[in-house]
Subunit: 366 residues, 2 copies
């Protein structure tokens, strides 16, 4: 994205200008000239390409056969977190969200989650990673192996200005040398390694992991596939937001679940109960909250190293959510164990309104 392309994108309403502590950047909210949305151009002309979206296969065997044929592919763990891109810029580490915003939370925490000498030795690198864990400000889920705070999982590395990602071997070598926290790499397979892949996905399902990302050895084509239980976990975490999320959130996960069961397991009464519970407990929680506090919402807690990053984050929350949709529950006046801890709630307006109407005896015409 040269200066002219950026200017044209701004004029066409496909990009917008942002600023963070004196750093000016342009963010694409639409794809432009082969750059996916979420791409960023910094004030010195550095371009951070958006992370490309990865096709999801719904049937493991046929999906791998169709996507890879005879080609070897790597299988890596898919981590249930949020996607960031990390780079060093003018002496500091920056982390951009999938959408191309400079993320004050990730930017605050990343320096303690990896060894920054990587960037001293290789200044043009961009790390693509998932930030995941129970104490994050964006999402409800968390990998089973991250039980507190957040952890970083690097899964791709690229060079600013170059197309594509580094080959797997190069990524692994850098990771080893700089002790980068990597998403687990399970090895190389072919589509006809059915039994091994079937066993691997059932093991991940049992462990509560999200699933797999596949990366073709030669063409590099990516695809992803999730476990049955990751769908149930996703539903359990947000069924109290049933009316506030796009319905596809639920219908897509139910389809994936049924396809997984049909391919790998068949009738499983334990899973039936888990699914019913995932829906009913969340909805029951919402009814209970509506009765007790008149409001349904999701609570978040996260830690910052620097108070000013917390303040940037709160300003961003309030600018995007508005006071009626975000309640700051706890804003710290002092550090605890070296961190500034923030607690807030995102209010779910449709669940709040619908349940208030229903519980007060209102009728619905449907």
């Amino acid at each position: 994205m040269d200066a002219l392309t950026a200017k044209t994108a701004l004029e066409k309403g496909k990009a917008s200008r942002h600023e963070f502590e004196g750093l000016h950047y342009i963010r694409l909210h639409d794809s432009v000239a082969r750059l996916p949305k979420g791409s960023v151009r910094l004030d010195d002309g550095t371009v951070v390409p958006g992370y490309p979206s990865i096709g999801r296969i719904q049937a493991l065997g046929p999906g791998l056969a169709k996507q890879y044929g005879d080609e070897l592919f790597w299988a890596e763990e898919k981590i249930d977190g949020f996607n960031i891109r990390i780079l060093a810029h003018q002496g500091r580490l920056l982390a951009f969200s999938r959408g191309g915003y400079l993320c004050p939370f990730s930017t605050d925490r990343v320096p303690e989650l990896l060894d920054p000498t990587l960037f001293d030795d290789h200044p043009g690198l961009i790390l693509c990673a998932e930030l995941a864990g129970p104490e994050n400000p964006y999402m409800e889920g968390s990998p089973p192996h991250v039980t507190e705070d957040v952890a970083l999982f690097v899964f791709d590395i690229r060079r600013a200005g170059a197309n594509g990602f580094l080959p797997q071997e190069e990524k692994l070598a850098l990771a080893e040398r700089y002790r980068l926290p990597l998403a687990r790499v399970f090895g190389r397979y072919r589509a006809d390694d059915q039994q091994a892949l079937h066993a691997l996905i059932l093991e991940l399902d049992e462990a509560g992991c999200e699933g797999l990302v596949f990366k073709g050895e030669t063409r590099g084509a990516r695809s992803k596939y999730v476990t049955a239980r990751s769908n149930i976990t996703d539903i359990a975490l947000v069924s109290d937001a049933l009316l506030d999320l796009p319905p596809e959130y639920f219908t897509h996960r139910l389809m994936r679940l049924a396809l997984f069961e049909s391919e790998h397991r068949g009738d499983d009464t334990a899973l039936e109960q888990e699914l019913g519970r995932a829906l009913l407990r969340g909805l029951g929680r919402a009814v209970e909250r509506s009765r007790s506090v008149g409001r349904v919402g999701h609570r978040y807690r996260c830690r910052f190293r620097e108070k000013r990053n917390l303040e940037h984050f709160v300003a961003h929350l309030e600018a995007t959510g508005g006071p009626q949709h975000v309640k700051i529950l706890y804003q710290p006046t002092h550090q605890e164990d070296g961190y500034w801890v923030l607690e807030f709630e995102r209010v779910l307006p449709r669940m709040t309104g619908t349940l208030a109407h229903s519980l007060s005896g209102g009728a619905q015409f449907d």
Copy 2:
């Protein structure tokens, strides 16, 4: 609806003309001059008002208190069928659907389901009824007490040209005199008869019945309330159509289920399993059908007394569904036990397409 009102509605695109065996009628597909949509004007000027929609309460106790205050109300069984209006016209019985179409199936079967001398003695009456049972051409559900074919359940009677419905006593007297099949009337209650109503709805839930309709004794205001299990049954019957139905079909039922449980029962692990099974078995059925026949659909079977009514019905099906969405599975060449039996399938295009894509290994970008 006088002739001028009908003409204006036609001009405004709020009504359309139809014909059935020489009977010409105008059907409102929008409300016009206080007549709800589904109202019909016959060629001799007779008006059959559309059946008004009934507000649904989601919390029984608060709902009854808000809708009825101290007023007495009747509680009747809500039947899981489809709504028709029956009248005698020029020597024959006609049945109109909720939407105001002359229904060839209902018109065919109604004469054997009630005593037509009612209309000889009271020529201007309109019966409002539910036609319900496993062998109907419109819907998957059926009341537990109708185990074969279809049965008729009258729940309201009105006079052509008059506003409102006959009072309950008058309806009951006519029903007794002409042995009309009635939806069960459980009696009169007040909103503070909490315990009796709680017991009644749990009994209906246990029996697999759909729920209750309430009718105010003085103002006549109606409302309805359904059992927990009717929601699960509805979901179980059509979860194989997950992507073809409006998502609200599922989300509304999940909300009702959670509100019912919260009010009447609390955590119920059996119900959790029933709900999970309702979703997973239906979806599993869809995957299985996609694998075995490459198509997902719902099958229907129904019986006609007169062959020409079956032919009218098939013509209507083909006109509205189109050959790609309706498959006639069995069209009879002779009567069986006095009936002409039709079997057909409504194809579910989104489930069919999505599963074919998924099972062939296609990727989805979501």
